[in-house]
Amino acid sequence: MLEFAGWLLDLFEDPREGLVLYFIDESGARHRLTRHFPVTFYALGSDAELRALWQHLNRRPTEISLSRTQRMDVFKRQSVTALGITVQNPYEARKVFSQTAAEFPHLEYADADLHIALRFAAETGAFPLAHCQVMADETGQLKEIDVLEDAWTLKPTPIPLRTMTLAPDVPPHHARPHYLNISMEGNQYQLSLQTWRPLLVNLRALIQRHDPDVLLTDYGDTWLLPKLLQQSEKHHIPLGLNREAGRGVAWHEERTYFSYGQIVFRGQQIHLFGRCHIDRQNAVLWKDYELDGTIEVSRVTSLPLQTSSRVSPGTGISSIEMLTALREGILVPWQKQQAEMLKPAADLFTADQGGLVYQPQIGVHKNVAEIDFVSLYPAIMVHFNISPETILTQPDTDNIVPALGLAIDTSQDGLIPKALRPLLEKRVEMKKHLACTPHWDPFRKNFKRRASALKWLLVTCFGYLGYKNARFGRIEAHQAVTAYGREALLRAKEAAEDMGYKVIQLYVDGLWVQHPDNTQPKDINPLLLEIQERTGLPISLDGIYRWVVFVGSRQNKQRPVANRYFGVFQDGSIKVRGIDARRCDSTPFVAETQMHLLELLASKENPETALPDAVAYLQKRIRALHQGDIGLSELLVRQRLGRKLEAYRTPSPAARAVMQLKAAGKDLRPGQRVPFLYTLGKPGVFAWDRPQKPNPRSVDVARYQRLLLRAAGIVLEAWGLDEETLTEKVHTDLSQLSLPIPPKQHPGKHRRNIPGVVNPAVNRALKG
C-alpha cells in the first residue's frame, strides 16, 4: 500500500489504463497512479428514438453499459427520462459519443463533452492542484483520495512546484532567435539555437536532471515546442517533454472568435502529459495574474493547470457551473436548444437595457467619494436567486423583477447562485484580507494575483448568462440581472441624495458622490450602511479623490462621456479610465507622457501649481521626439486586426501593416495584434515584425506629436490648457529651438475652447 499527502498535478484519459493521475508528494516524490473510471453521457428523445439507439448500442463491441434513468432537466424544471450510456474507459467515451451523435443526430445529448477533470472532481471532490491524502495499492491503482483543503480555502498550503522556464532571446515573429534561455531553481543556462544537436542533448539532460512539473515558456505553443519537436524527430533525440512515457504531445488548433464584440485570436496549443506546459505569450490574462492567478483559476474551476492557463474566464465560469450541475445530478446539455421566449416588442424596450449610467458633470471635482457595489452582478444573481430555472414567466410570487413582467422562484436555490456563492464569498474575503495586508508582506502579490483571477471569473459570469453558447444561459435571466442592477443603483442614488450628497456620476455599479463635510473615509460609512440597507447588496468605498476630472467627448467637448476620467485619491494613488494612459492601443511614448503629467499634477496639493512643470515636461518630450531621442519601440502602436485582409474596403493602418507582413511571408489572423510605426508617405505605416529595420528618419513625427498633444490636452484641459493651446505653445517652442516644425493641425469644426478664465498659473506656463 502507498499512502501519502500531496497535490494532484495532472490527470488525463489513457487508452489502456482508463484514468492516469500525477501527484506531487509532500516529501518531494512524484507519483503516477491510475484508476478505473467509467463515464456516462445521456441521450434524450422520444421512447421510440431511445429504443432505436439502445438497440444500436447493444450491438457495439466496445464496453458500454446502458440504463434507463431519470435526470433533472434544468430548463424543463423537472426530471426527464434519459438513456444513460456508460463507457468503461473514459478514453473511448469521446469517440463513442461522436459516433452516436452522428448516427442519431435528432436526439438531444447531455453530459457528453465534459472534461475528465470535472467528472473526477464531481465524483471524488478532488480537483487539480488540490492538497489531498492519497492511498493506492501496489499496482498503482488509486484506492482513496480525500481532499485536505477545498478550493475555497483562503490560504492554501503552497505547492512545491518545480518550474523550468524556456524562452528564446527575441520574439520569433519579430526576428530570428539565436539563443534559448533556460532558468531552473535559480540556475540560468543559455543554449545556442544555431546547432540543434547539442541543444537537444543539453535540454534533455536538464529536463531529466530537474524533472520539472511545469514548463513555463515564451512562444512555446506557437514556435518553440513545435520547433523542438521537429528537430528532436529529425535528430532522433527524444526530449522527454512528457512525463508519461509513450505519449506524444497533444496539439490544439489555433482559433479566432468573438468575445464582447471584439475579435480574439488564440494561437495553437501544445499540452503535455504528466507535466504542465504554459506558454506565457498564449496564456489568458497572464500579465494580469501570472502563475499564482492561473493556479487559483485551476483550483476553483477544477480544470487542469495547462488548460486553465489557456481558457477564457467565461469557460472557467462555465466549468464551475457544469461541476455544480454534475454534483447536483442536473443534466449538462451538449447543445442548448432553449430560445428566448416570445415577448411583445414594447417589452423589449424595457427589458433589453444594460446598466444604468448617469452622465458625469464635466470638469474638476474635489473631495469626491467613489463607492462601488462589491461584484454587483454576481451578488445580484446570488442574492436574488437568478438562474435559468428560477425565472417564472407567470408571476405568482412576490419576487417580481423590477420593470420586467417576470418573477423569481425563491423556493429553492438556483443552479447559478449555487455555483457562484462560494466564488463570490471567497472574492469578498480576499478583498478584505488584501485591504489589511501591508505592502511589504511577501504574500501580498500572491493574494493580489489570485484576487484578480477571481475578479475576472466573476466579471464574466454575468455575460455568460446571456451568451449564446453558455450551457446554462438564458436571456431573461440576463435581463433580470440588469433590471435589479438599475434598481439598486437608483436606490443608492436616492439614499445619497437623501443624506445630502451631490451625485456626480453613476456608472452601472458605482457612484461618485460629493458632500461638503464628509471628506474622510469614516464619514462615508453611514451612507454605505444606508445603501446596503435599501438594496440588500454589499457596497464599499473605493476611495475619496482629492480631485477627479471627468472629460468630455472628443467630438464635442461639452458632451460628457461615461467612464472616461482620471483622479488622485487622498493617499496619492492615481486612477485613470478611458484615456490614453490606460488604453492598450496607445503608444508607450504617449501613454507614459500622459501618466507622467498626471503624476506631476498629483504631486502638488494644488494641481494648478504643477502646470509650469507639466508644460515644461511636455516640451521636453516633444523636443526629444523631434531630435530622435525616443526609441522606436516607444513609438509602436499595437492594433488588432479586426477582420480578414480581403474584407477591408479601405485598409486600416493595422491592415496595411499586415499586408507588409504578408508580403514578407508572415501571415496574421484576425484578432492578432500587429505592432507598427506611423511613417511618412505611403502606406503610412511600417510593420515592426518585417525582416527589414525601420528607417528612423521615416517616422511620422508630426503624427506622434499630434497624438501626444491630444493626450496631454485631455489631462491639462481642465486647467485651461487644451490641445490647441498646447499646440500653439509647442510651435513657439520649436521655432525658438530651430527644430523642424510639423504642419500645424487645423482644428476640426467641433473643436472649441471651453469658455473659462485662464488663471495666473496657466499664464505662467504659457510664458514658459
Binding site: 436548444q337 430560445a339 411583445p344 416588442a345 449564446k468 453558447n469
Partner: protein, 182 residues
Amino acid sequence: MEQHITPFPLPKTGKISLVVAPKGVRHSLMSMLAALALRGRVIVVDGGNCFDGYTLARELRRQTHHVQAALKQIWLSRAFTCYQMVAMLAELPRDGTPIIILDMLSTFLDENVNFSKRQRLLENSLGLLRRLSEHAPVAVWARTRTTAAEENEQLLTPLLSTAHDIWELETPTLPEHQLPLF
C-alpha cells in the same frame, strides 16, 4: 449606410416570401412590419439580433397615434444559435399569425458547428417553414454578405428553392470615378 427601399408587398398565406438583400433593407422590412402590426398580431423571429425597434416605432408613429398598442401586436424572439432557430420555429403557433424571420442564415454561419450539421439543421428549419406557411403568411430575409460569402451562398440555395416569391436586392455599386458634379 441605411437606405430606404421601396416597401415590399405584404406576405400571403400559403407562400414563403423571401427577400435576399444586404443590411440596408432592414428599414423597409420595419415598414412592412409596421403595416402588419396595424392589421393585427405578427411574430418576428430575429436570427441576426437586428430587430430595429426605434425605426419601427418611427414608422408606426407616422401611421398611428397608438404606437404602444401597435408595438404590443409584435411578438418577438431572438435566436442566437442554429439550434435555437430550429427549436423556435418548431414552437411557433400555427394560428394564422404572420411570421417574419429576420436574417435567417446568420445563426447558420456559426463556425462552432460543423457545416454538414448546419446544413441538416437548415433543412429542418425549411421543413418547419413550409408547414408554418400552410397556415400563415411567412416572410424571410436572407442577408447578403461580403464575409463568409461562399458558405452564405451554399446555405442560401436551399432557401431559394423553398421560397415562392423572391426579391433579390443589391447595394448600388458606386462608379469608380466620381461623376462630374458641375
